[in-house]
């Protein structure tokens, strides 16, 4: 064994729902229904045994309508939908696994903060300290309209609201002091009211009295995950996040991004190692043929439509209005992470058609080869970047999950680069223990972030 321990997360970009590439994949047995828990349970159990630290479910609270201004293409081909409530799946996965962290995405714009703080505190009890929260501040306009809002609040003001939101949640999670619960059957005293406090939050965006009506949970507060890469997002992550998941294409970009996150943590008065940075990878095992080459049974025209619908949602604009066979430049998409990928691949700016046709099988950081080759590559990138781990984003089908967990994660466990799962650890402790950060430094310290 050599070098620093590597963390592994699994990122389910489809959220709780199949997505186009899952339900139509022939490797998903038709008997495994996407709308029942069984397939999710089966895959999560494999991850749990292999040493994956946590599993993140993305989420969106609306069906996109950017392409041709209609939800129809999205419905027709299951693009960015369907989406079920990840907070419902989380306890089922916890009941059937023993050590993996479960991280649902919950959106600050849509949940009343007290409701969310209470939900997560309960989930922490129910999972035995294995719950995380992927903090998302926004989403598509359709989501806002489902909640009766005319539009999403602007990007930076969403983060201002989210700063206050997370601070309020942290106050609620700390509203029962450690030791407040006595449970003495002789005197009949359950808790010491002197150690339970109102939070009396009256901020710019939220008001809440408290205390929470849930007693302190195993982690005190859930493990906080974030994925924003904008300057405001990085500032937010430095203040609040325990882990950041991002998409970078080169070792230089990864290293630079990780340094920015660490600097942001330091600026917020935290240890640089307090925020773990995860880079998205999509490993392709050579032993498993064409693992990531999605074989759409649909013809090329359908594939183009799917790609355009997907890209429209990603860029937030209707691409049916743009010419298909001209290079996509001058539309302001150049800085989008997806475009960076395509441009840096070939040098030349591709046409819209080229990008759209490749969308169905597009992956970032495709590490290809045998399990040993992929493990070598991951170790190399990890050591060059300096930390902290990878988030695997691949096919959400049992066959693929089993291949990657058994062969790639298994190899890294055998080499001593990934820790063996330990059911005795909470997610927070599991993540802290590997880097030497005292796990308890922030628990019960609601306002000590600045």
């Amino acid at each position: 064994m050599s070098g620093k321990r590597m963390h592994i997360a699994w990122f389910s970009g489809h959220g709780v729902g199949p997505g186009q590439s899952t339900w139509s994949d022939d490797r998903l047995p038709a008997s495994l229904r996407w709308d029942r828990p069984d397939a999710y349970v089966e895959m999560t159990r494999v991850m749990d045994r292999s040493g994956v630290d946590f599993l993140v479910f993305a989420d969106t609270l609306g069906i996109p309508d950017l392409y041709r201004g209609s939800i129809d293409p999205y419905l027709e081909y299951a693009i960015a939908m369907p989406k079920m409530d990840p907070a419902i799946l989380a306890p089922i996965l916890a009941a059937t696994t023993s050590s993996i962290g479960i991280v649902p995405t919950l959106t600050t714009t849509f949940y009343p903060p007290y409701l969310l703080a209470r939900l997560l505190a309960t989930l922490d009890h129910v999972t035995g300290g294995r719950i995380g929260w992927n903090i998302v501040t926004g989403g598509i306009e359709r989501g806002a309209q489902n909640f009766g809002l005319a539009a999403m609040p602007a990007h930076d003001s969403r983060y201002d609201m989210a700063d206050e939101y997370v601070e309020l949640c942290e106050k609620l999670w700390a509203s029962w002091e450690p030791g407040a619960v006595i449970e003495d059957p002789v005197t009949g005293v359950f808790a010491d009211p002197g150690k339970v406090h109102t939070v009396d939050h009256a901020g710019e965006h939220y008001a809440c009295r408290g205390p929470l009506n849930v007693v302190p949970s195993p982690q005190g507060r859930p493990f906080l995950v974030q994925a924003g890469s904008s300057p405001r997002g990085i500032e937010f992550a430095g203040r609040h996040a325990d882990a950041v998941i991002t998409n970078k294409n080169t070792i230089e970009d990864m290293r630079a991004f990780r340094e920015r996150i660490r600097a942001s943590a330091v600026a917020a008065g935290r240890e640089p190692d307090a925020v773990k940075v995860f880079f998205i990878v999509s490993p392709v095992l050579a032993e498993s043929p064409d693992a990531l080459q999605v074989e759409h049974s649909a013809g090329a025209p359908a594939r183009l439509q799917m790609g355009l619908a997907q890209l429209s949602a990603a860029f937030g604009t209707d691409l049916s209005l743009l010419p298909l066979d001209e290079p996509i430049t001058g539309h302001g998409f150049d800085r989008n992470t997806i475009m960076e990928q395509f441009v840096s691949d070939g040098g030349e700016v591709p046409t819209l058609r080229q990008v759209a046709e490749r969308m169905g099988s597009w992956v970032s950081m495709p590490f290809e080869g045998s399990a040993d080759e992929i493990a070598d590559r991951m170790e190399y990138v990890f050591d060059e970047v300096g930390g902290d781990g990878f988030a695997i984003r691949g096919h959400w089908i049992p066959d693929y999950v089993n291949d990657i967990c058994t062969h790639v994660v298994g190899t890294l466990v055998r080499r001593g680069r990934i820790a063996r799962p330990d059911p005795a650890l909470t997610l927070r402790r599991r993540m802290g223990a590997c880097s030497g950060v005292t796990p308890a430094t922030r628990s019960g310290n609601s306002a000590g972030l600045g």
Binding site: M81, M84, I88, A121, V126, F190, N213, H296
Partner: protein, 443 residues
């Protein structure tokens, strides 16, 4: 006695009874005890459902939460939703009902939550609809009137039902050959613009097995009864006597007929608190024992009564009849009625609140079963709700000693003929006796 009846368990995911011996090897904060008990209620009890009461905040009297925190009482609850999800994995047929308020959940969030739970449980989700306010924990400075809460709830339910209906049956194609997941012509925008709520829709996931969760309600006031008569498929009520139960049931069924609704599409349950011993004397001793627990005391009872009525009773004379003036009408409907009906003093009412007591049935297993049957026969149906913490010492006497007697009498469910909660609940031939009667047999 030929009136078959259903059983449900009415409980909470909370700290109450934290001092019970059952909790020396179980933790009330964790799912295991509920998992084990839910399996018993399903496999050996034939229960239709488990209902989790809930309130999102610690109760207070004049802003003081001290007594509630001190004894682990009203309001020290975990969120029941994650527990319902976990229980859906551990059980197969029993209905799973959560209490969620139309005043605290954004409608789209609630609609998606129940649709997901209904998918994941293969059609066993139920919603105990309450209108209680989130108050200062949700940033609200003022109270709504009861009328306004129900007006909002009417609109809320209309909206979430439209969201649940936004995908027609058959909208999902899952056609691997063409790559088509759904037929967009069968998915419709909601475009709801109400007085209180707006939502564009459609739902982000297909229609669930039951379409809508089973709707449960506990309205006690006139406005609440109107609401329940219109919308509820399960009504739960606390009444002190079989006469009061019968009156309540007949009132609700008459309201349904007036609205043009078939009253048999709604099942009315009355809460009971059983004490089951080997003998009647032992059952009575159990109740006395329960009353002498250090967590069942006057301080607790006065706090509970005050919180539930919105009137501070802590300085009233204990041994005089309960006073009813200056009670917050919105908070207290039906609660005081229970105590004044029995002519209770404040002390008696407080101790009853401390016990969370309801209609008491005590005796040996056969006596309890026979009393259940007698009450249901008199009331006319439809079911009893055991109001009790869910733990081995309360569940096992019911599932293993009382339920077998009732089954032998042919009065309760002896099988689940259907997959979904609603189908089982509304099945007229759910019990052996009703199947015999339906077949023209003589008992």
């Amino acid at each position: 006695m030929v009136t078959p009846f259903r059983l449900i368990w009415f409980t909470s995911f909370g700290a109450r009874h934290w001092d019970a011996l059952d909790y020396t090897h179980y933790d009330w904060r964790r799912p295991e005890i509920y998992r084990d008990m839910a399996r018993l209620l399903e496999k050996r009890g034939g229960f239709d459902a488990i209902v989790f009461a809930d309130g999102p905040s610690v109760a207070t009297i004049d802003g003081d939460f001290g007594p509630f925190v001190k004894y682990g009482l009203d309001g020290v609850y975990n969120d029941p939703v994650p527990l319902l999800a976990a229980l859906s994995w551990h059980t197969e047929r029993i209905g799973l009902v959560g209490t969620l308020s139309t005043s605290t959940y954004p409608p789209f969030l609630l609609a998606r939550l129940f649709a997901t739970l209904d998918h994941m449980s293969s059609g066993r989700a139920g919603w105990n609809l309450v209108t209680s306010e989130g108050g200062p924990n949700f940033g609200a400075a003022t109270h709504m009137s009861k009328q306004e809460r129900y007006d909002r709830a009417d609109e809320y339910l209309d909206l979430v039902e439209r969201l649940w209906d936004s995908w027609e049956p058959g909208a999902v194609l899952l056609d691997r050959a063409s790559g088509r997941f759904a037929d967009p012509s069968k998915v419709h925008e909601t475009n709801f613009e109400g007085r209180y709520f707006r939502s564009r829709g459609p739902m982000t996931l297909p229609r669930s097995p039951q379409g809508h969760p089973v709707i449960m309600q506990a309205g006690g006031s006139d406005r609440g009864r109107q609401f329940a008569a219109r919308h509820a498929e399960i009504i739960i009520s606390h009444r002190n006597s079989p006469e009061a139960m019968k009156d309540f049931r007949e009132d609700l069924r008459a309201r349904m007929r007036t609205m043009g609704r078939d009253p048999d599409t709604c099942k009315i349950f009355f809460t009971v608190r059983p004490f089951i011993g080997d003998t009647l004397a032992e059952a009575k001793a159990m109740r006395t024992n329960a009353l002498s627990s250090p967590t069942i005391n006057l301080e607790v009872g006065l706090a509970a009564l005050s919180a539930r009525t919105g009137r501070d009773y802590r300085n009233d004379p204990l041994d005089e009849p309960l006073r009813t003036e200056a009670v917050d009408e919105a908070a207290s409907a039906g609660i005081l009625e229970q105590h004044t009906e029995r002519g209770e003093t404040l002390r008696e009412a407080a101790m009853s609140e401390a016990m969370k007591e309801t209609f008491v049935v005590e005796g040996d297993p056969r006596q309890v079963a026979e009393r259940f049957a007698e009450v249901m026969d008199y009331v006319g149906g439809d079911g009893l709700a055991i109001r009790e913490t869910m733990m081995p010492s309360t569940v096992l006497p019911i599932t293993d000693r009382v339920a077998p007697v009732l089954r032998e009498m042919g009065l309760v469910r002896d099988r689940y003929a259907h997959e979904t909660f609603r189908e089982n609940l509304l099945d007229p031939a759910f019990a052996a006796a009703s199947r015999t009667v339906a077949a023209g047999g003589v008992r």
